[in-house]
Symmetry: C2
Subunit: 214 residues, 2 copies
DNA sequence: CTGGGCTGACTGACTGTTCAGTCTATGAGC
DNA sequence: GCTCATAGACTGAACAGTCAGTCAGCCCAG
């Protein structure tokens, strides 16, 4: 039994396939307008099979939410791992949250956050999960700061407190960007976030001259 | 024709009644789980009447969203009008967004924001409205700051820029509070927001010893 | 008697879920 | 190597519940 039975492997692939499809669909149409038949169509199977795997529409969608959230944080983890310098790391985080379509990942994934919040607000199970994931996010930020302190890039500050504030600011900014508020374009959101970090943590930062888009 | 016909008055009352009921229901159960029969029941009418007034479920819910948003901003306007001092005014705004159940108003109205964002993300009509309302919110903040400068409570700063950042921070904090993140309780959110304002605008502020709840 | 607020009863469409059964791969027994 | 039983992935078709929206007509003020 060292090796999983083939069937189990296939089953796992199917599950993930369905979760990914569901996440994508939620992002596109919204939680409430995602039908299991859509998911089925996208993975080339019958609606019955989706139920076969998840038992319930609600289970599928809820797990899909979790799935995409975890995917996001894993990506953030990786990016941080390959970036040593404090400021670059912060820039990465800001970029990840406030600039559209970073790459690969789920397109329109912002829509997903809105639905996640909405679900979390009303369903304790989802709420609990979200709290945990968000704690992970804040811990990542705090760790970045602590590393910066340790490497003497900045002076000592309360990393946790910064993480809470910074995370909130990023959430708020990403909302404006996601909803295409003309007053808060990605560039400006980026600047605001980085300036906040620079002021609070005490490092120099000025907007690098990125070409503004066409 | 100086006076509206009685029937028209009744009709208007009915409309508002329905909008209020719809807003409340959306806050409670969520946009997607609000049935027109629920709204009808709450105003003591038949579902058919609701359709009679709004033509479509979607119209009703969308207008309800707008309705409650406007109600919120009007309340903020009033509160500001009766508060002269800069710091008190900022405290009012923070309180309004980050502390649960301020009073009266729609209970659980946070859930409403999530749905509003979700709808705005996918429906251009709603998106446009939201942008406008949010601009109004930022203008309010900026005006508070400008008043403060004018009354020499603080030195000159870029009021618009502050407004954008502060509004985003408040949004982000209110999410955490709404979702009952144990790490970000209302008190802490309040402190973070006010400290940010104090630092950025350059005034002294320390948390007044409010009794923590029971 | 007219018009508009209002309703009960209905319908048509949609869709999550069930179920009986098909198909395929695997593996034991001969 | 062949057969046959078994299990599990998978499906088509039907079911059942839910609702938005329609419609013919009631009721009542003016």
């Amino acid at each position: 039994m060292a090796i999983k039975a083939d069937s189990a492997v296939v089953a796992d692939q199917r599950r993930d396939q369905m979760l990914a499809a569901a996440a994508q669909l939620i992002a596109e149409r919204g939680f409430a307008d995602t039908r299991i038949s859509d998911v089925a169509k996208r993975v080339g199977a019958s609606p019955a099979l989706v139920i076969y795997y998840f038992g319930t529409k609600d289970t599928l969608l809820t797990e899909a939410l979790r799935f995409s959230e975890q995917t996001f944080y894993s990506m953030a983890d990786e990016l941080l791992a390959s970036t040593p310098a404090l400021v670059k790391r912060l820039e990465t985080l800001v970029h990840l949250t406030c600039v559209p379509q970073t790459q690969g990942e789920i397109p329109g994934s912002w829509g997903l956050w809105f639905d996640l919040w909405s679900q979390a607000f009303r369903h304790p199970e989802v709420k609990k999960d979200r709290v945990e994931l968000d704690q992970r996010w804040r811990s990542m930020i705090a760790q970045v700061v602590r590393d910066g302190i340790h490497h003497e890039e900045i002076a000592t500050v309360d990393a946790e407190e910064f993480a809470v504030a910074f995370a909130a600011l990023l959430d708020g900014l990403s909302i404006q960007v996601a909803l295409e508020d003309p007053v808060v374009d990605p560039e400006r959101a980026y600047r605001i976030a980085m300036r906040f970090a620079a002021t609070t943590l005490g490092f120099d930062w000025k907007p690098s001259r990125r070409r503004s888009r066409s």
